[in-house]
Symmetry: C2
Subunit: 317 residues, 2 copies
């Protein structure tokens, strides 16, 4: 595949890391930056990683999507809380054949992007990665980093197209036959771990897996997510089913090896930023209820996290 | 009934308020004080209340139970977290006929006191009261104040004896045929409201009853408490049963009228003090599990609150 022109929208830790891997692989990558623009302009973009450090002294960065213009691929790595802004930010980068890959958390985001720009061009990527933005222009990749990608219409030829884009990059990138299934599988981790790490007042995942009571709550939450996911897939007429038990044990054994990892939502919470409660909790919960799945653990986490957001907003006023 | 000699052990807001009501009624009341001794010695004990203010310029206060010596009644209003200290503090006040009334939160406390001093002399009182210690020697009674009392062996003659003690006092005091039943009925309020007010990061009860999601979690938690309570009563061979549906609606309609009330556990939490998680959560949860009652909401709140205690202890080190 010849080098592709790529716009990275949302240049936080995830956007910077994966955009840098694509640039390193020879693609023509342009980062939309706001908060960090001046620092990166002056000092470059620097990423430390066990898979190899990357340094870009003069990355292509811009303050507006219009300056980038139409590209082959938009990589959108905004926070789910900023999805409303995505329409305006992505729009100027679209040509007739532009594909859009979301590297975002939560359920229902690809569907919204698909309504705006057409579902045939929309992909979702689930990144399982330990990564932090240390300061502007400085990203620390700690561990993992694999990405699973699905296509909004589950078109295998489109999934292959995404795989081809990433093939030269230093990323374990694999396709998934069901985007929706992959989203629920990712939620199996995010709902218990992001949720409990926040609700337990800002702890790392080792405290969850290390305490029998919290671990049991995490497992029960995950089982509710599996059940909701299976019901959703079945209701949508998809053939794909989550390998429930196998997936749950894999999530726990991976997390057992994750050490004092801090989920992004937990970092956002302790730093007083908005948390992705709608995409990660409210939307999947609403869907589970629609399908008649009993979800006491998810409902409790959602109710608490929504309240934290109200507390934060009240504190900001 | 002639005036009784009374020791109040644990002179926080609850101990001061109810001790003062007994003193006002003509009983001979002695307060064990530590933290507040000097201030009360110098300036007295002052209580504001919609049921009538009370001012004691020279209340009988002491720093040690031994100075009080044997009494007719011990009123023990320690925090449940201090139950281990109760043995030493109560002991010196006991004569052969001394009765002990606990005005404390949680399950299993009377049983422990009964093991130490004999069950025939032990009572539990459930206070439903809005009350705060503003500063040393200053207590603000906001609203409510009724006390329901039960006897550890459910002896009706003993319950009458407690009623006689309180008859002259400005307190709505009533007997309960089942101490254990009354404890579970009180937990129906404490577990959802104390638990969620803490877990939602220190909010007042109006936020719980006012948000449909949190309200639903509170109700589901309460229903688990009712179910565990019924199973416990049945397992113990008691005839008493909680009026489940009626009790749940009463708890909610009372709380709907409580305004921005802050449960004591929530105040302890935001002020960095130990919270009564064992007596209010771990002990009832363990009992529910023993009885095979499914308690996802209680288990989640317990796991979170135990983690807050670990966070607090780690912060203290």
């Amino acid at each position: 595949m010849q080098a592709q022109r790529i716009a990275v929208i949302g240049a936080g830790a995830v956007g910077c890391y994966y955009g840098a891997r694509l640039a390193e692989a020879g693609h023509d990558v342009h980062f939309l930056m706001r908060r960090d623009y001046d620092v990166v302009r002056a000092g470059g973009l620097h990423i430390t990683s066990p898979r190899g450090d990357m340094h870009f002294d003069r990355p292509s960065i811009t303050r507006s999507s219009a300056e980038i213009g139409p590209v082959d691929w938009v990589i959108c790595a905004l926070k789910a809380t900023a999805v409303d802004a995505a329409r305006e930010l992505i729009g100027p980068c679209l040509g007739p054949h532009t594909r859009i890959l979301l590297l975002m958390n939560g359920l229902g985001l690809e569907e919204r992007i698909g309504e705006w720009f057409g579902p045939e061009r929309v992909f979702g990527g689930m990144a399982f990665v330990g990564i932090n933005r240390l300061e502007p222009g400085q990203v620390q990749h700690i561990e993992y980093g694999a990405v699973v990608v699905g296509h909004l219409l589950n078109d295998p030829a489109e999934v292959d197209r995404a795989l081809a884009l990433w093939a030269p990059a230093e990323v374990d990138f694999s396709g998934h036959e069901s985007l929706r299934g992959a989203r629920w599988e990712k939620l199996c981790w995010n709902m218990p771990f992001n949720g409990l790490c926040v609700a337990a007042d800002g702890i790392s995942v080792d405290h969850i897996v290390g305490d029998p009571e919290l671990r049991a709550v995490a497992r029960a939450t995950m089982e509710e997510v599996v059940e909701a996911g299976q019901a959703d897939l079945s209701d949508r007429g998809e053939r794909y089913r989550i390998d429930g038990e196998g997936h749950v044990s894999r999530m726990f054994s991976q997390t057992d090896n994750l050490g004092a990892y801090k989920p992004s939502t937990m970092i956002d919470y302790v730093e007083g930023r908005a948390i992705e409660v709608d995409a990660l909790f409210a939307t999947p919960l609403a869907r589970a209820r629609e399908l008649g799945v009993h979800t006491p653990h998810i409902a409790t986490l959602n109710a608490l996290l929504q309240q934290y957001e109200r507390n934060r907003e009240a504190g900001e006023r």
